[in-house]
């Protein structure tokens, strides 16, 4: 009988579905710096046509080094290029799953499920976007920057990292016409106070209509404070451990605040992108 890791069942007519289980060929899988790797997969046009910034795929990591990760691992779309037929991920080595991903070589196949989740949106009035992220969070914001550029919006990307060497995608953001501000621990510029100062300057200069961020609790809290202070909107992409990735298992919930009430939402289905002001810092 067939090896499920290789050839998922045809699920019906493409047009009926939003997400697909597919075994895609690896085009390249290279370290970006010590901790990060970029994985490029060959993807069919119909799949890429459905991708949107902020969405993710759920990856079935291979068996490697005697380890067999069992559950899938969620990864944001780092880039999707229908012309080149490419789907990109940027991942950081964390545990067994990402270590296994790093073992993939060109020609291998990786079983992916996606695209999944709610994407970022850019509302009409949001002309000046501020992207704030740290580390691998930049991966999630990269396709948003591309979309913002397509829509002709102005952008400031505040990129934070431990060390200038770990600043990724800075050139990419610049190419897309963003003003880039880099903050690093090594240079002592990444503290919350300095970040607040930087953002307040942007607001004062009329260069902040909406914020986009992901992951960090510290940044979320700051942006919520600033957002409330100036009545500015924003969106955040959140992470949570996932089993199904589709909405079936309820393992990936986080707490949100809406209309004065606390509620639990699934990161995989009602997210991963949420209203920045509704997220409850953890």
């Amino acid at each position: 009988m067939m090896d499920l890791k290789e050839t998922p069942a045809p699920a019906g007519e493409k047009d009926d579905f939003k997400s697909f289980e597919l075994a895609l060929a690896v085009k390249s899988n290279d370290p970006v710096n010590g901790e990060y790797h970029r994985l490029v997969l060959e993807a069919p046009e119909y799949l890429l046509a459905r991708c949107q910034a902020g969405q993710f795929f759920h990856l079935l990591c291979p068996t490697a080094n005697g380890e067999t990760p069992y559950l899938r691992r969620p990864m944001s779309i780092y880039g999707f290029y229908p012309q080149q037929g490419e789907l990109h991920f940027l991942y950081k080595l964390a545990g067994a799953g990402t270590r296994a991903l790093a073992s993939l070589t060109p020609g291998d196949r990786l079983n992916v499920l996606g695209p999944l989740g709610v994407p970022f949106t850019i509302e009409d009035g949001w002309q000046n976007l501020v992207l704030v992220a740290r580390g691998v969070g930049l991966a999630t914001l990269a396709p948003l920057a591309l979309e913002a550029r397509r829509l002709g919006r102005k952008m400031t990307a505040i990129c934070s990292a431990r060390h200038p060497d770990y600043l990724m995608s800075v050139d990419y953001f610049r190419e897309l016409g963003a003003d880039v501000i880099t903050l690093t621990d090594a240079e002592g510029t990444s503290g919350v106070d300095n970040l607040e100062r930087v953002i307040e300057e942007l607001i004062a200069g009329g260069r902040a209509d909406a914020f986009y961020t992901c992951g960090s609790n510290r940044i979320l809290k700051l942006l919520q404070t600033i957002g409330a202070r100036h009545d500015l909107p924003g969106q955040i992409a959140l992470e949570q451990q996932m089993a199904c990735g589709i909405g079936m298992c309820h393992c990936c919930v986080r707490t949100f605040q809406r209309d004065g009430k606390l509620l639990q939402l699934r990161v995989c289905r009602e997210g991963p992108v949420f209203d920045m002001m509704e997220a409850v810092a953890w």
Partner: protein, 314 residues
């Protein structure tokens, strides 16, 4: 053409493959055509709102998983309003899974979900009976019998009793469920387990313990399915660790009339479709006209189950 259809009491299924409760939802319709399935089985609901357990709610162990989701539920009202109508667009029978902490609550909910559009009720009696000592109803034959009587009185729909592996009395519990009025047995739920992160020394689940599902559970649940098929005269629906068509065939040979696929759907969302196709191909290759020709065909030389159990001590 091979015939994949099976009967669970009066309910005819176009094939024996259905999802396990809690590992399926309307969301999966975005990945494949749910009409392909033998039945639709919803996540267990309770009458009232429930939040669910502390995170983390899942972890992986040795190619299988633990979960302690805690049955978050929006309550029966929301369920009848949103979930039942969703499934009415399909011809596939709808099986609704329910649970309650007391007999009365359980029976009331059973009555409330006995509505048009629902074809069978799966009663998750693997949940704790807070009127007794907090052990699941299905741990003991007596509590199983009692709750099943109450549920039987509450509905005319087919009643499927979902059993737990956390018992030493599987055959007796199965008989008690049958006597109490069950039309079929779903065998089985997850087995209570634990995992600890040796670095933080914390349990890997927020709830300390949780249920083991996936391949590691299969030999246990298969044994239970066999025991239940031997002990009763009602159909058994096998559940536990099914990943491939071979696994399904093993359950059918053991005596199950149909199966539920749970965790495998998390790994391969389209796995149930794959399994249906492979099962059909297998039957064709074996020259079997119907999947029913497999059910209960185990060559066990009529060994008496009780004797075997006695001798089963290693």
């Amino acid at each position: 053409m091979v015939d994949l259809s099976v009967a669970i009491g009066d309910l005819r299924l176009k094939n024996p493959i259905m999802p396990a409760s809690g590992t399926f939802s309307e969301d999966l319709a975005e990945v494949f055509d749910l009409e392909r399935l033998g039945a639709h089985v919803t996540k267990t609901i309770t009458r009232d709102w429930r939040d669910g357990n502390t995170l983390p709610r899942v972890c992986e162990v040795n190619g299988s998983m633990l979960n302690s989701i805690g049955i978050p539920s929006k309550g029966v009202g929301s369920f009848l309003e949103k979930v039942v109508p969703f499934y009415q667009r399909y011809d596939t029978p709808l099986v609704v899974s329910i649970s309650g902490n007391t007999e009365e609550e359980f029976a009331t909910l059973c009555r409330e979900v006995s509505v048009d559009g629902v074809d069978a009720i799966e009663v998750n009696i693997s949940c704790p009976n807070i009127e007794e000592d907090g052990k699941a109803f299905a741990i003991r034959p007596s509590s199983t019998h009692k709750v099943m009587r109450a549920l039987r009185a509450a509905t005319d729909l087919p009643l499927w009793a979902k059993l737990t592996p956390n018992t030493g009395e599987t055959s007796e519990v199965a008989s008690a469920a049958e006597d109490g009025g069950a039309d079929a047995l779903v065998v089985a739920n997850t087995i209570l387990s634990m995992a600890i992160d040796i670095h933080t020394r914390k349990p890997k689940l927020g709830n300390l313990m949780g249920g083991l599902s996936g391949p590691s559970l299969k030999p246990i649940a298969l044994r239970m399915a066999y025991q239940c098929a031997r002990a009763t005269n009602i159909p058994v629906i096998g559940c536990g660790g099914i990943t491939t068509a071979e696994d399904v065939i093993e359950y059918l040979i053991a005596g199950a009339s149909a199966v539920q696929v749970g965790t495998a759907t998390f790994i391969h969302p389209t796995v149930m479709v794959t399994i249906i196709d492979e099962l059909e191909a297998y039957l064709r290759a074996q020259g079997l006209a119907s999947v029913r020709d497999l059910i209960g065909t185990i060559v066990d030389d009529g060994q008496d189950e009780a004797v075997v159990f006695m001798e089963a001590a290693p």
